[in-house]
Symmetry: C2
Subunit: 208 residues, 2 copies
Amino acid sequence: MTREQSRAHTRERLLAAARSVFARHGFHGASVDEIAAQAGFSTGALYSNFDGKEDLFLVLMEREIDEHAREIAQAVRARASIAERATGGARQWMTMIDREPDLLLLFMEFWAYGVRDPQVRPKVAERFAQMRRVITQLIADGVREFELELELPAEQLALAIDALADGIARQKLADPQAVPDELMGNVLALLFSAATRPAAGTGTRSAR
Amino acid sequence: MTREQSRAHTRERLLAAARSVFARHGFHGASVDEIAAQAGFSTGALYSNFDGKEDLFLVLMEREIDEHAREIAQAVRARASIAERATGGARQWMTMIDREPDLLLLFMEFWAYGVRDPQVRPKVAERFAQMRRVITQLIADGVREFELELELPAEQLALAIDALADGIARQKLADPQAVPDELMGNVLALLFSAATRPAAGTGTRSAR
DNA sequence: AGAATCGGATAATGAACGTTATCGAAATAG
DNA sequence: CTATTTCGATAACGTTCATTATCCGATTCT
């Protein structure tokens, strides 16, 4: 194994261990010793491959967030009507909360940590912006496809939806019983019914 | 000064210092040394008055959350129409984010910390439940007062509103420019317009 | 009876302890 | 010989504990 491959391999092992340990204990609760041990290395190796606990955490988060953003976008795009897209996306989100609560908790810690640190804050903001862009695009697609008009700029609607998703996740993580599974879908449906109207005088005037 | 008064006084001073230091550095970033020093005591005094850093933090949070819940409820109750109540509450929330971002950050840390700890989790859940009850009551009042019917149980609508508020706060804390001040009010207005309809056949049939 | 004093309890101190993240010099592998 | 990993040292942190200072209630003395 070449040096480069070897190094990449230890990085990978460290990241995998970090994912597991961080998920179990949270950012502050996790110890670099445990991470390094679980990866089968010493802590020095960790510091040789990363700038420290914080850097390791940030790299890991970057990766995980990317993956989840892709998943959500995919789940939404697969649906047909705008109503189905909303409920489909909502359902996907709720199951994600159920399936990987640890990871969501980590995202929240990443946020709390990043907002305080001037170095990290832009990265957190960019993550939100990225998610907003994805949702905005989905809304724009739906609007064009189904010939609708919006009461609110798509970006703002997207922000609200993202905010709603976050807030619901927070409540469900604190008390799973308090949040019915269909709630998010229902609210989204209501929101869309109020925020959209048929476009006036365009293309195939379907209804009216 | 009597013994009891003296003790209450140091507790108060410690709590005030804790509020300041926690706000500045966050829960994990704050050191008990700094808190004790700022209060003008030794760390031992802190441990004599509280069970430790965690206990101090929890007591402080309990207090602050109570206060904020009162403020919000007051801001909503003061308004006349249901639309004004929504926008009034939303405005109050947005200014609160602007005015005390540090405190909101602390709430988030309190949440992240509490969700992991089996001892603290019920307390966090109870805080959410309390806020839901307040909002539910406000909705119920509005519905009765303006003779409306709901498309969704008031509790669920309340949960969604709370979630939305939380999520918007998170985004605004990460990037204040990304969140227009009127957004929350607008979305609430849309949500209410979709979630309510005039009650059929009750009392003074105003319109229709 | 009123004032002074004593004893037990309580509050606060500050030094000590174990744990943690971090770093640099040595050792090892490519 | 260079790059990567190891090992030991260090400083900071939360927490504990023996010690000191302080207060309150009861007892004693005038």
